[in-house]
Homo-oligomer: 443 residues x 2
């Protein structure tokens, strides 16, 4: 306990975290944590204790502890919580380099029949017990990688002078395709929709602050059961005034390399727990290949695909293009019909728009979608009408082209897809603490 | 433009941001930005140009620019966007220390009759034009303070080893009082509710990772029109294993001081724009006063209030308690009935729970609510039943007391209330880019 006023136990050593044991070698300390594993050899019990900051083996010998402690030790089970007073010893054979000789042991919370045992469990069972599954070594490693990815993302933009602008979840205007929106009654104003993107709002903010980004949850009520979809996922979206599509791709390249580098720098141990092939991540180096949509279609057809120019690229085509490439690859300038209304018409070929998708290697698919935005009032209005979108909902968005319009670009990176790729986990559901799937809303 | 491939203008100087002009004194540069203000003296036009990173005066003299540029300059209006080539000069009288002598000027986007002019506008009008209002000096300053507050919050927890765990927005189980929840249909699973807190999920994560926090949007469908309520607002919530209520208050104190210090360190200019009394912020120093609920009631009654022991404290009572205190003040150990079901029963007085509210000075009210959580299975179940909550929705939450229960505490800090207080703005609607009010969902 960080404060001892309400504790009834006398303090025999300072309370420390397992991750800091290296600072306390040779001293008696107090640990609080959960029992990860147990092994007994009659007179000695080996307890693997974890506390969120790390794991350590506590050696409890019958001859070296009081009888209460020994009795407690005999009754320990997976995931019960305990308090341990013990001596920190350097131990070269231990994964952390330290071991603790137990002096005193107290049970805090029992854990009879912890549902998740060291054996194989079905996915449904694990998801149903997600609140307990999170305690497993692998899930902890993924959560720590996710934390580092988020930190890297925020550092990247902060260091480059971007201002965070949180965009609303409850929206009247809608960014992308309707029909996959969650809807809720908003007081007396009728329905509100849960945002699929913050981009339109960010464009307004970019005219005020220059370089901005948002980073929050987004929602898709898509009836999809694939391993690459979640109903609720986090997306980071930068928006940059005076940046064109070329510069946008350069920004994305720098950004993705920065994230991967930071995980390699700070989360080696977690990647080892996940048995991630580090070399695959070390191969993520600039420059990333850039191929136009038109070139991609030609390449796909050469390789046997029957795709026609004009059709969007699906997961299958993306995987094919990424094959044989060790770094992510850009596909740029898609046909207008395949993309959202707000993308800028290409001056070189008005059938296409100035956009890009960034495809991760190893079959992880699209992790970024970006574009230069249409900054011409008339062309944007035409596109809104062509798409049959409710014009009045976009009047404020059109204002941005009415008052001091400016070339600008941005992109969205899906957090869970990026985390899944970096961790090498096949399904997005493990890349977020409490996944929301079509068939799962609990816990 | 960060890449010149699509630019039709020849480059005469490197493109730079106004905030970096100090690095380019004596050189010719290219600026992109919006016209904040204009002043003419016949043959010379003084243009205040802004680009999100700063503002600078551009001096355009008829005799020193080509005729196209002069003609363009004559037609400039508020908030039109322009490209300027010019010479950077040190100028002691300029707020930024620099001025630019214009050489060439091009209009990028006109801005006829920009709706927000340098005069008083009504609040409704400004909110309706929030996408344009954001460009004002004052709103930019608030957004930059908000950015710094968020950065400080994330740094604080990161530096102390907390792991970010993003908790779900779409939830089955509910944290606090029902009746103020936004609801949406969730596929075939019935209604989902927009989360009012991530706390319950964080408690599960704390058992896995020790020290965790979430930071995301939260929702209240409260029919309230006060200046201290938003339907959608951001909240940061740490949750700490093995921390008791005393330690929780110490953490909050350190946290709030850290945030205020960081704004004072990095956003002096913005606070000056906002005409914030810096001394009021500098007075936010530990230790904060801590008074129990019971003492608060006594103090209030001495000062004429008719409040009875047992009733919750409202905004009026909070303001009264904060009066005459220059730093925030803790009120702790409220009556059980006034608080949420998950708070730990006080061992010293079972009529109360181990919790605290932190009240900001200057009438800004509660910015933090925190508590030690009930870690006893039976007592928690009793409370869930007493409150008439759907027991089956909380089975997973009860599991945390079934398997290795542990003392733990946490709190929630409202971002907009904190930003409003630090900026000295009376209404929360200015503390977020696109406020969601009972009567406003757009833009």
């Amino acid at each position: 306990m960080s404060s001892d006023r309400s504790s009834s136990e006398p303090t025999v050593g300072v309370s420390v975290a397992i991750g800091e044991l290296n600072l306390h070698a040779g001293r008696t300390v107090r640990l609080h944590g959960w029992v990860r594993n147990l092994r007994s050899s009659g007179k000695i019990l080996f307890v693997i204790l974890r506390d969120g900051t790390g794991e350590v083996q506590v050696v409890v010998a019958r001859d070296e502890v009081d009888s209460d402690s020994w009795e407690t030790a005999q009754a320990l089970t997976y995931e019960c919580s305990v308090m341990v007073d013990g001596l920190v010893r350097e131990e070269a054979r231990a994964p952390s380099g330290y071991e603790v000789t137990g002096r005193r042991l107290r049970l805090v919370g029992p854990s009879p029949d912890f549902p998740i045992q060291p054996k194989e469990h079905g996915t449904d069972f694990l998801l149903q017990n997600r609140h307990l599954w999170l305690r497993s070594r692998r899930q902890i490693a993924i959560m720590r990688v996710r934390d580092e990815v988020v930190r890297a993302i925020r550092d990247f933009f902060h260091e480059r002078g971007y201002i965070l602008v949180d965009t609303p979840i409850l929206t009247g205007a809608i960014g992308e395709s309707a029909g996959t929106l969650f809807e809720t009654e908003y007081f007396d104003l009728g329905p509100a929709y849960l945002a699929q993107t913050g981009q339109l709002y960010l464009e307004a903010a970019a005219a005020a602050l220059g370089k901005v980004y948002c980073f929050g949850p987004t929602f898709r009520a898509e009836k999809s059961k694939t391993r690459r979809h979640l109903a609720e996922f986090w997306m980071v979206e930068p928006e940059v005034a005076w940046l064109d599509s070329e510069g946008n791709m350069a920004l994305q390249e720098e950004f993705v390399c920065f994230i991967v580098d930071r995980v390699l720098e700070n989360r080696r141990g977690e990647l080892a727990v996940l048995e991630r092939d580090i070399e695959r991540l070390e191969a993520v180096r600039p420059p990333f290949d850039r191929i136009s949509y038109t070139e991609a279609v030609e390449e796909l057809r050469r390789r046997g695909s029957e795709i026609e120019w004009g059709a969007d690229l699906g997961a299958e085509e993306e995987t094919l293009i990424a094959e044989g490439r060790s770094a992510p690859v850009f596909i740029y300038d898609y046909p207008r019909e395949a993309k959202a209304f707000y993308m800028k018409e290409s001056p070189e070929d008005p059938r296409t728009v100035k956009c890009d998708d960034l495809i991760a290697p190893e079959g992880y698919g699209e992790i970024i979608g970006g574009s230069q935005r249409e900054d011409d009032y008339d062309r944007l209005l035409t596109r809104i009408r062509e798409e049959g979108l409710p014009e009045e909902a976009y009047d404020w968005y059109l204002d941005l082209r009415r008052y001091g319009t400016f070339p600008h670009s941005g992109f969205g990176l899906g957090l869970e897809r990026t985390v899944a790729w970096i961790c090498g986990v096949p399904h997005l559901r493990e890349a977020i603490a409490f996944p929301r799937l079509m068939t799962r809303l609990k816990p």
